[in-house]
């Protein structure tokens, strides 16, 4: 548990943002939190869930379902703008063979919406 646990602070933020939004909407209970997590982001959904169960205790967020939408990695070739999924250890463009690429999708970590009642 000691290593590579950076989900605690992140989960705290998830709970805090949700509490603020639910408060603004004068909600009594949060049913679901919809999260978007990029495949290349270093965050592990199971880990977020683990901390969430503890951190949400005794709040209106307790018991809410964490729904994770995973965003697959997509790269964009800086030479010909082709968008393609990374192939394992090979990050070169399938169209022009260029090796200069940028991440187009897959770094996300955000709350898309919360469902309350």
């Amino acid at each position: 548990m000691l290593h590579q646990m950076h989900e605690l602070g992140v989960t705290e933020n998830i709970v805090n943002i949700t509490l603020a939004k639910a408060g603004e909407a004068q909600a009594n209970k949060v049913i679901q939190i919809n999260l978007v997590v990029g495949e290349l982001s270093g965050f592990v959904p199971d880990c977020i869930q683990f901390y969430f169960d503890t951190l949400s205790k005794d709040t209106i967020v307790q018991g809410a379902v964490l729904h994770f939408e995973s965003v697959p990695a997509q790269l964009r070739c800086r030479n010909c703008s082709t968008i393609f999924p990374p192939q394992d250890t090979l990050w070169s463009c399938p169209k022009c063979g260029g090796q200069s690429v940028e991440i187009f999708k897959g770094r996300e970590l955000y709350i898309e919406s919360v469902e309350v009642e």
Binding site: H6, I14, L40, S41, Q99, S113
Partner: protein, 224 residues
């Protein structure tokens, strides 16, 4: 049931503190470099070499981030203007420094007497990539024994780096590390990156690295 649109970055809280840190550093004309690498790539040795070589030219402070212990802080103590050790073991993030830790470390530093802060992050190639600290430059060290495939395995940390150091060049005859392939993959991910090849042990290449730091610090002060 009601659905509330949020679209809020979960890392925003960290980024807000990071930009506050940078404002504080800028106010005191302090330049900060975040040094990241896997454990054992040579962060502390490079910091020691840098302190020794730049002594008398820059007042340098060090922030040491480790999961536990103060061994690194003790090593740099005599050469640095100020040292703050952060142990992350009992903190929300144990695998990386985060902006809030730097914010409290800066409170213990005589900022008006410092030109440069070298921040030694926790040894890890994954987590530090996600957290900005308020630094001006991000530097990643890769050492030859780690292998030349790290940029492909841990792309994020390389994509955001301003400089990448290939350390332990003295081991080149003994390891299978394709320097050209490594350079190609980092430049592919990050065309603006500055690459340094050096050995903290023999001192080879350290001069160029130190000149780069001096140049960065001077440019930064002039621009303010």
């Amino acid at each position: 049931m009601k659905k509330i649109e949020v679209i809020q970055n979960v890392l925003e809280a960290n980024e807000t503190i990071a930009s506050r840190n940078q404002q504080l550093l800028d106010k005191h004309k302090v330049f900060a470099i975040n040094i990241m690498s896997a454990p054992g790539a040579g962060k502390t040795s490079l910091i020691l070499q840098t302190l020794t070589r730049l002594k008398g030219r820059l007042n340098i402070a060090v922030i040491e981030g480790d999961v536990a212990s103060t061994v690194d802080a003790e090593k740099v103590q005599s050469e640095a203007k100020a040292v703050v050790q952060i142990n992350t073991r009992n903190m929300p993030e144990s695998c990386s420094l985060i902006a809030a830790m730097i914010e409290s470390a800066l409170k213990d530093m005589p900022l008006d007497n410092i030109d440069l802060i070298l921040i030694e992050n926790v040894g890890n190639l994954i987590c530090p990539a996600e957290f900005t600290l308020g630094e001006h430059k991000r530097v990643v060290i890769s050492s030859l024994p780690e292998g030349d495939d790290k940029p492909i395995k841990y792309p994020l940390i390389f994509i955001d780096a301003d400089a990448v150091i290939i350390n332990k060049m003295d081991l080149l005859p003994h390891v299978d590390f394709d320097i050209a392939a490594f350079r190609r993959s980092i430049v592919g991910l990050n065309p603006k990156v500055e690459v340094f090849q050096l050995s903290s042990k023999t001192g080879e290449g350290i001069e160029r690295w130190c000149s780069w730091i001096l140049e960065q610090v001077e440019t930064n002060v002039v621009n303010r």
